[in-house]
Subunit: 225 residues, 2 copies
DNA sequence: GCAGGAATGGTAGTATACAAGTCTGACCAT
DNA sequence: ATGGTCAGACTTGTATACTACCATTCCTGC
C-alpha cells in the first residue's frame, strides 16, 4: 500500500480516509486484501480510533467488509454493486446534464471548457495518467453548475466501485475515447441540446460495461461472483 | 428526546444511530438542538465511542453539524438540502418505477398490494400514525422489486431531510392523499403504464413542496435561511 | 462602572486499555 | 495416523483517559 504524507491541518481521520480511498481506487489495495486497523494505524503514525472511523465510513459504502472479531477486508468487485452504481450514475448524470442544457451560466461553461481543453492537451502529449482526475472533475463541474453538489458528494464514495473497474479498464484497454465524449457533451450543453446530451451520457457509461467483461476474464480473482 | 431500549444483539453504535435517527425524524430532537456526545452516552448507558461513531455518520449526511471543540447540533432544515434530496428522489423514484413497469414479478406485486391495502385499512380506521412507516416501505418495495436495494439504502439517510418536512407536514396539514397516490402507482405498475407511473411520482412528491411553504411560516425557527 | 485578562468548564479529536470472540497450531490421547 | 482440545495470538467492539481548543464568566485593575 502506498502511504501518502499527512497534510497540515488535516485531521487524522481524514488522513486515514484519504489514504484508504486512494489505495482502493488505484488497486494498490487489491480486492480481498485484509485491512488491520492496528497495522494501518502504525503505518500512518496515528492511533486506532481515527483509522477505525475511516474504515467504518468505507464499510457504509460497501467498499470494506467488516466481520466482527475476525477481520476487515477490501470488498471484492461485486457486479451487482457496480451495476447499481452505474444505474445511479446514469440516471443522475442524465438528469443533471439536461438541467445544465437549460440553466448553465457563462462561468460554468468556462470551467468545463478549461477542463476539456486540458484533457485534450494531455491526451495529445500522451500524458494519459492526468486524465483520470480531470474526468472526475468534468462531471463534478456539471453537478456544481446546476447546484446539485450534495448529490455528487453523496454519490462519490459509492462511485469508487465504478472507479475500480475504470482503473482496470485504463490498465488493460488503454482507451481514451472518453476525452472525445467530454468534448461532445460540452458542445451539446452549449447548444442546449438535451436529447444529444442524454445520448452521450448513455454511450459514455456503456464504454465501461463493455470493458468489464474483458477485465473479468483477465483478473477473475478480483471479482465476487 | 425519547430513549428507546436497546435491542439484544444490537451493537452500541447501531443503537445510538437508531435513537438519533428516530428522534431527528420525529423532531423530538428539534433542528438546532445541541447534541452532547457525553450526555447522550450517559443517557443511553453506553460509552462515548459508539455515540461518536453514530454522530459522525449523521454528520456525513448533513443531519448533524459538528463544530470541533465547540459542539454538535441537529442541522436546521436547509431548503437547498431538501431540494437536492427531492431532486434525487424524483429522478430515482421515476427511473425505478419505470423499470418496475417492465420487470416486476408476481411476488413484488403481491408485496406492494399487501402494503397498500394495509394503508387503506388504517386510513379508513383513522389510524393515520401507522401510515408513515408503510409509506416508506411501499417505496422501498419498488426498489427491491427491480433489484436496486443498495440505491435505496444509500439514499435513505439523506432522505431524512425530506422526512423531517413530512413529519411537519402531517402535523400541520393532516393530508392523506398520499394513500390514494400509492394505489394509483401500483395500478400503473400492474398495467405496465410507464408514462402514468412517472406522472404520479412527480405529483406525489410535489405535495410536500406545497406544504413546505406553509410549514415554514408556522415554524420559522426550524429553518436555515 | 468598565475594560481586559485569567481561570473555568465544556467540546470534539485522539490515544490507549480492556473485553469478547475467532482462528490457528501445537500437543496429547486414542 | 487421526481427532480433539487447549493455549495463544490475532481480530473488532467498547470504555476510558488525555489533549487542544473554544467560549464564557468572573475577577482584577483602573
Amino acid at each position: 500500500m502506498e502511504v501518502y504524507s499527512k497534510r497540515r491541518g488535516e485531521t487524522a481521520r481524514d488522513y486515514a480516509l484519504r489514504v484508504l480511498k486512494g489505495n482502493i481506487i488505484s488497486l494498490d489495495l487489491m480486492p480481498g486484501t485484509a485491512i488491520s486497523e492496528n497495522e494501518l494505524a502504525t503505518e500512518l503514525g496515528i492511533s486506532r480510533t481515527p483509522v477505525r472511523e475511516a474504515v467504518i465510513e468505507l464499510a457504509k459504502a460497501y467498499l470494506i467488509e467488516i466481520y466482527p472479531q475476525r477481520g476487515s477486508f477490501v470488498s471484492l468487485i461485486d457486479p451487482k454493486m457496480v451495476e447499481e452504481a452505474r444505474f445511479l450514475r446514469r440516471i443522475t448524470d442524465t438528469a443533471v446534464i439536461e438541467a445544465a442544457c437549460d440553466e448553465i451560466d457563462e462561468k460554468g461553461i468556462a470551467a468545463l471548457e478549461d477542463n476539456v481543453s486540458l484533457q485534450e492537451f494531455y491526451l495529445s502529449k500522451g500524458m494519459t495518467e492526468k486524465i483520470f482526475d480531470l474526468d472526475n472533475k468534468f462531471h463534478k463541474g456539471i453537478y456544481e453548475a446546476v447546484k446539485k453538489d450534495i448529490v455528487y458528494e453523496i454519490h462519490s464514495t459509492l462511485m469508487i466501485h465504478f472507479d475500480r473497474v475504470r482503473t482496470l479498464s485504463v490498465e488493460t484497454v488503454k482507451d481514451f475515447k472518453v476525452v472525445g465524449d467530454h468534448r461532445k457533451m460540452l458542445e451539446a450543453i452549449k447548444a442546449g441540446d438535451k436529447v444529444t446530451a442524454a445520448q452521450l451520457v448513455e454511450k459514455h457509461l456503456n464504454r465501461y460495461q463493455i470493458d468489464e467483461k474483458e477485465i473479468r476474464s483477465q483478473r477473475p480473482e478480483y471479482f465476487k461472483a
